[in-house]
C-alpha cells in the first residue's frame, strides 16, 4: 500500500516540485496557459449545456406523449378508434380532445384562445392548477391558462364571454410554456355540456387524441403499434411522437456544445505548446544535471519518469486551479448569456469541469513527453560536457 507519507517522501516528486519552483515565474506562466485552457473548455461545455437546458425547460415535459390526428381527408378520430387504441400495451392514458379556437372577452378586453373539452380527470393529468379548482362536470364553469388570465387581468370568479355564453372562471392554471399537445397557457377548459352549448354544430368525432406512454422509451413502440392497428387498410390517422422534438433538440445542442468546446480546446492546445516550450528549455538548462544523474546511476526510465512527473505535477495543479475558476467563469457567462445561473448547479456542470481538468492534465503530459524523452536519451558523457 502506498500511503500519503510515502508520496510525500517520494524523491522523484520532491525533485519535480523543486524543479518547478526553480523557475517560478516561468512555471506560473505555463500554468496560466493550462488554467485558461481548462476554464475555456469547461465553461464552454457548461454554456452549451445550459443553452440546451434553457430551451428544453421552456418546452415542458413533452417527450412521453403521442398525438393522434385524423389523417388528411378524415373528419376526426372516432370513438371506435379510441377503443382500438386501448388494446395497445404501454399506454398510461388515452385522452380524447375536442377543441376550437375562439374569441374571449372580459370587461371590454378581448383575446384569442383555444376552447377545450377534455374530461376533468384526464385534464388533471395534463395541467396543474395554480389558483382555485377544476370545474365540476356539467357546470358552466371553466379553468383558464396563465396567459389568458394575464392578458385579460382575470381574477377567480370573473366571468368571461365566449360567443353569447358567459363562463365563470373557477381556476387558473400554472404556466407551462410551449407544448405540442394542448395550448395550456392560452387554453379555456370547460365541461362537455358547456362545450356542446358553445359549439352545437361540431362533429361527434374527436379533434385529436393525446396518448401518454408509461415509459419514455416505449413511445416509438406505441407509435408503431397504433399505425399498424389503425392504418391497416388506408391511412385514417397520423401519429406524432413528441420525443422526436426532444431528440432533435438534444442533437442540435450536442453539436453546439461540441463546437463551443472545440473553440475552448484551441486555448488548451496553445497551453500544451507552452508546456512543451517550458519543459524543453528546462531540459536544456539541466543538461549537465541530467548527465550527473546518469553518471550516478539514473537509467533512462528514471530520467523519463522525473520529467514526466514534473509535467504531470504542473498539469494537475494548474488544471485543478482552472477547474475551481471555472465555477466563477461559468457563473459570469451564464448570467451574461443565458440569464439563468441556476443551471450551474447541476451534475452536468461537474462533469464538464472534470472533463476540462482531465483534458488539462493530459495536455500537460503530452506537452512534457517529448522533452522527457529527449532528456532521457541524452548520452551521459555529452550531457556532462555541456556547459
Amino acid at each position: 500500500m502506498i500511503s500519503i507519507e510515502d508520496i510525500r517522501n517520494n524523491m522523484y516528486l520532491q525533485l519535480a516540485r523543486r524543479n518547478l519552483k526553480r523557475q517560478t515565474f516561468r512555471t506560473v506562466l505555463a500554468a496560466i496557459g493550462i488554467i485558461i485552457g481548462v476554464i475555456a473548455i469547461s465553461s464552454m461545455g457548461i454554456l452549451g449545456n445550459s443553452l440546451k437546458l434553457s430551451v428544453t425547460d421552456s418546452f415542458g415535459d413533452i417527450g412521453d406523449k403521442l398525438l393522434i390526428y385524423p389523417a388528411p381527408g378524415e373528419d376526426g378520430v372516432s370513438e371506435k378508434q379510441v377503443k382500438q387504441m386501448k388494446k395497445i400495451s404501454g399506454i398510461d392514458a388515452i385522452i380524447p380532445v375536442y377543441s376550437s379556437g375562439d374569441r374571449v372577452e372580459y370587461k371590454n378586453q378581448y383575446t384569442f384562445g383555444s376552447v377545450y373539452d377534455i374530461d376533468k380527470d384526464d385534464l388533471e393529468k395534463l395541467v396543474e392548477i395554480d389558483e382555485g379548482q377544476y370545474f365540476k362536470s356539467g357546470s358552466t364553469d371553466c379553468v383558464v391558462g396563465a396567459s389568458i388570465a394575464n392578458t385579460l387581468e382575470l381574477k377567480l370568479g370573473g366571468k368571461i364571454e365566449i360567443g353569447d355564453s358567459r363562463l365563470r372562471v373557477v381556476g387558473i392554471l400554472k404556466e407551462r410554456g410551449i407544448g405540442f399537445d394542448i395550448d395550456t397557457d392560452t387554453g379555456i377548459f370547460t365541461s362537455e355540456q358547456m362545450y356542446r352549448k358553445l359549439y352545437p354544430n361540431e362533429e361527434e368525432e374527436y379533434d385529436f387524441v393525446i396518448i401518454k406512454a408509461e415509459e419514455l422509451d416505449q413511445v416509438n413502440d406505441i407509435k408503431n403499434d397504433i399505425e399498424k392497428l389503425l392504418n391497416k387498410k388506408e391511412e385514417v390517422i397520423t401519429v406524432f411522437a413528441t420525443n422526436i422534438i426532444l431528440e432533435s433538440i438534444n442533437e442540435a445542442f450536442k453539436s453546439i456544445s461540441l463546437f463551443l468546446m472545440g473553440i475552448g480546446s484551441i486555448s488548451l492546445l496553445v497551453a500544451g505548446v507552452s508546456i512543451l516550450n517550458v519543459m524543453l528549455m528546462s531540459t536544456m538548462e539541466r543538461t549537465k544535471e541530467i548527465g550527473v544523474m546518469k553518471a550516478v546511476g539514473a537509467s533512462r526510465r528514471d530520467i523519463l519518469t522525473m520529467f514526466l512527473l514534473e509535467a504531470l505535477l504542473l498539469g494537475i495543479i494548474a488544471s485543478l486551479i482552472g477547474g475551481l475558476f471555472t465555477i466563477g467563469a461559468g457563473y459570469l457567462i451564464l448570467s451574461l448569456i443565458v440569464d439563468n445561473t441556476s443551471y450551474l448547479l447541476s451534475f452536468a456542470t461537474l462533469l464538464y469541469i472534470l472533463e476540462g481538468i482531465i483534458f488539462g492534465i493530459a495536455t500537460s503530459l503530452i506537452g512534457g513527453m517529448y522533452p522527457a524523452w529527449k532528456a532521457s536519451n541524452m548520452r551521459p558523457l555529452d550531457a556532462l560536457r555541456y556547459e
Binding site: 510515502d6 517522501n9 524523491m11 522523484y12 520532491q14 525533485l15 523543486r18 524543479n19 519552483k21 526553480r22 549537465k288 544535471e289 548527465g291 550527473v292 544523474m293 546518469k294 553518471a295 550516478v296 546511476g297 539514473a298 537509467s299 533512462r300 528514471d302 548520452r379 551521459p380 558523457l381 556532462l384
Partner: protein
C-alpha cells in the same frame, strides 16, 4: 574472481570531428588491482579523461576490451552500462556537479534513489557517507550554494560513496580547490583507499601522484610510463 578490477586490452577510441579522425586512445593496456590507488597523468588531450570515462562506463571503446569487475562492457547497451555504473562506480568531478535544488544530504541520497533503496535506509546511509566524507553534520541540510568548495567536494565524495562502490573515479578532484583544501581532500581520498576502495584519479598535478601506489602517464593516447 581475480584480483584485477579494471582490465583494458588494446583499447582504441577514435572520434570523428568533421573530416578529422581523433585518436583519443591508441591501443592502451592497463590492469588495475583491487585496492589500488592509481593516478593517471598527462597533458591536455592525452586521452586521460577518455580513459576515465571508459572505466566509468560513460563511454565504450572503438576497439579492444574493457572489463570492470570481470564484466566486459564493450558491447553493452546504455541501460546495462547504467546498472554496472550504479553498482560499481562512484564519480567525483572537478566541478563537484552537485544538484543545486537539493540539500547536501539529498544530493548524497540521489544514487541510492536510483538503486531503489527504501527511504529510511537511504537517509541513514547518506548520513553515514557524509560522516565518512567528514562533512560536519550541521551542513547536511544546506544547499550547495551555501557551502564552501571544500565542503561541496566532501558532499560529492559522500555521494560517490553512497552505493558503496568498489571503485572511486575522480577527475581533477582538487582542481577547483585551494592547495590547503586540496590536501585535505586528498588525505580523505587516501584514507578511503586504505579502507579498501580502489581509487583512480585523473590529474595534472604531480603532487597527487605522491599519494598513489601506481601512476600511469599518457602521451597522445598511449601509455608512456607505468610506474608501480
Amino acid at each position: 574472481m581475480s584480483d584485477t578490477i579494471v582490465q583494458m586490452e588494446d583499447v582504441k577510441k577514435i572520434y570523428t570531428l568533421g573530416a578529422n579522425e581523433i585518436h583519443a586512445l591508441n591501443g592502451v593496456d592497463i590492469s588495475i588491482k583491487k585496492g589500488d590507488f592509481v593516478t593517471i597523468m598527462g597533458a591536455s588531450g592525452s586521452g586521460k579523461s577518455t580513459l576515465l570515462n571508459m572505466v566509468g562506463c560513460l563511454d565504450t571503446p572503438t576497439s579492444g576490451t574493457v572489463k570492470i569487475n570481470d564484466i566486459d562492457i564493450t558491447e553493452l547497451n546504455d541501460d546495462k552500462l547504467t546498472t554496472i555504473r550504479r553498482d560499481n562506480i562512484g564519480f567525483i568531478f572537478q566541478q563537484f556537479n552537485l544538484i543545486p535544488t537539493l540539500t547536501a544530504l539529498e544530493n548524497v541520497e540521489i544514487p541510492m534513489i536510483f538503486s531503489r533503496m527504501p527511504p529510511n535506509e537511504r537517509k541513514a546511509r547518506a548520513l553515514h557517507a557524509l560522516e565518512q566524507a567528514k562533512l560536519e553534520i550541521e551542513y547536511a541540510d544546506h544547499r550547495p550554494n551555501e557551502l564552501s568548495g571544500g565542503q561541496q567536494q566532501r558532499v560529492a565524495i559522500a555521494r560517490a560513496l553512497a552505493n558503496d562502490p568498489p571503485i572511486l573515479l575522480a577527475d581533477e578532484p582538487t582542481g577547483n580547490l585551494d592547495s590547503k583544501t586540496g590536501k585535505i581532500i586528498m588525505d580523505l581520498l587516501s584514507q578511503l583507499n586504505k579502507a579498501g576502495t580502489t581509487l583512480i584519479v585523473v590529474t595534472h598535478d604531480p603532487k597527487l601522484a605522491e599519494y598513489s601506489n601506481k601512476n600511469i602517464m599518457l602521451l597522445d593516447g598511449e601509455v608512456s610510463d607505468d610506474i608501480n
